[in-house]
Point group: C7
Chain length 94, copies 7
Amino acid sequence: MLKPLGDRIVIELIEAEEKTSSGIVLPDSAKEKPQEGKVIAVGTGRVLENGQRVNLEVSEGDRIIFSKYAGTEVKYEGTEYLILRESDILATIG
Amino acid sequence: MLKPLGDRIVIELIEAEEKTSSGIVLPDSAKEKPQEGKVIAVGTGRVLENGQRVNLEVSEGDRIIFSKYAGTEVKYEGTEYLILRESDILATIG
Amino acid sequence: MLKPLGDRIVIELIEAEEKTSSGIVLPDSAKEKPQEGKVIAVGTGRVLENGQRVNLEVSEGDRIIFSKYAGTEVKYEGTEYLILRESDILATIG
Amino acid sequence: MLKPLGDRIVIELIEAEEKTSSGIVLPDSAKEKPQEGKVIAVGTGRVLENGQRVNLEVSEGDRIIFSKYAGTEVKYEGTEYLILRESDILATIG
Amino acid sequence: MLKPLGDRIVIELIEAEEKTSSGIVLPDSAKEKPQEGKVIAVGTGRVLENGQRVNLEVSEGDRIIFSKYAGTEVKYEGTEYLILRESDILATIG
Amino acid sequence: MLKPLGDRIVIELIEAEEKTSSGIVLPDSAKEKPQEGKVIAVGTGRVLENGQRVNLEVSEGDRIIFSKYAGTEVKYEGTEYLILRESDILATIG
Amino acid sequence: MLKPLGDRIVIELIEAEEKTSSGIVLPDSAKEKPQEGKVIAVGTGRVLENGQRVNLEVSEGDRIIFSKYAGTEVKYEGTEYLILRESDILATIG
């Protein structure tokens, strides 16, 4: 299992075909192309200067839109994942 | 439904024709051209270092002026939206 | 009505002719030319990390000097305005 | 009257002749040339993250040395002034 | 023994062969290639502005994925180590 | 008298001859050459975000080593001084 | 005696021969080469925004690894020293 640190999340990409069924169509010409993913795991959140941790706004299973060039790809047990920071997420869907 | 995170908002663009009727005319030669939009959804606000969230100053339905090159375009269920940060909003109209 | 957000202000420019009458003459050769304006509307102020809002130091009707290339021009109901941040204001006059 | 905002100050430049009489001679070859001025007006000070304002260390009438390329020149009622931030002041003289 | 300072950690790299057995395969074409390592020692954590130290989220023995070009290589008593900051760690595995 | 502001200090340079007598020899090839000086006056210290001022660690009369290209030279009543920030000081000697 | 300020430390370099005996071998090809040193003196620590000083994690006599191009060389009473910030230290040894 991949367990992201701090304000990071692990997502699985949702391919364009799925996107169409969920109603999202992203313009090809957009310079910073957003993409859709499904949250697999979330970190414990970033630590504020008063020592408090901020829970992430997204949870396992959420569908999200994120900026295309954000994050780092990893392949784990045969599946490709993307590790993002919560600040790379634009919105949740649903 | 698109639900923006943190201090982000989802807006629908208001076309130039509508703008004229609302009284806003933006000069073509302006380098950083502002634009007009209608707020569709707002995030829960950013988190301060004391753990407190700051509610956004805009609400669903507000008409706003924002900087042209700000934000990311997404198409959801056949409609085009723009996802901005609250700091990209210059003013509300009305 | 334009209502600026946070620490932004909406001003009307005061033309050079008016400036002369008010006593301000700005050198043409200055690289970062300041200009004069009249405050039309002010935002609610920026939010500090302790959650407190800081009221702006300027109020509707104040005459101000600001840096020339600051802000974004908008035209609303036939009048041209400039939307600035309070930090772009150098001084008030009067 | 020019009233500077925040941690800004308005000064009148003190010409080189005066400088000699006050004992300050500045080397011509210095890359960041300091200069001398007299404080005409001071702002209310910057606001800390706890909401407190910090009074400026200089007062009306103080003679100061500041970095040459700092600030913005304005001409008001026939006199040239320079508007600086307090952080551009190196020292007071006297 | 190497004892890292603050929010730093000392890791041993896990070679590609081991990676395959643990199920991680990293794409060769990725620009910022992640890598796998085993935590050997952790620092005492960074100090917040309120004076509190934040314990690291990883412990000795954890397997981690980190960004390839992060950290500094050192060789100590015949073994090669990498010294990273906790912020260079993307996720733990297992 | 020159009275530096905030975390600034005024120093007199100590020439290379004196340096030898005090035991400091600085390599000519060093890119960021440190230098030696004597503290003439110190500011009241910088202001923290809680409103507290931090007294400088150096006092009038201290001998210090500082980075060569730091600070601004001024000539006052026939003597050359250098105005530095405390952060430009590397160490005290003695 | 050299007394470093704030979060600075004074170290003596430990030459490559000594390094071999202590077991550290650093690869020649490393771009940011770490090096080994012995702590001679430590500062009083940096000041947090709440006014508290943070004691350094290293003490006189500690052996440390630091990044090669960090710090400033000085020669004092015939011995060469390096003045670093604590953040330039990667780890202690022993």
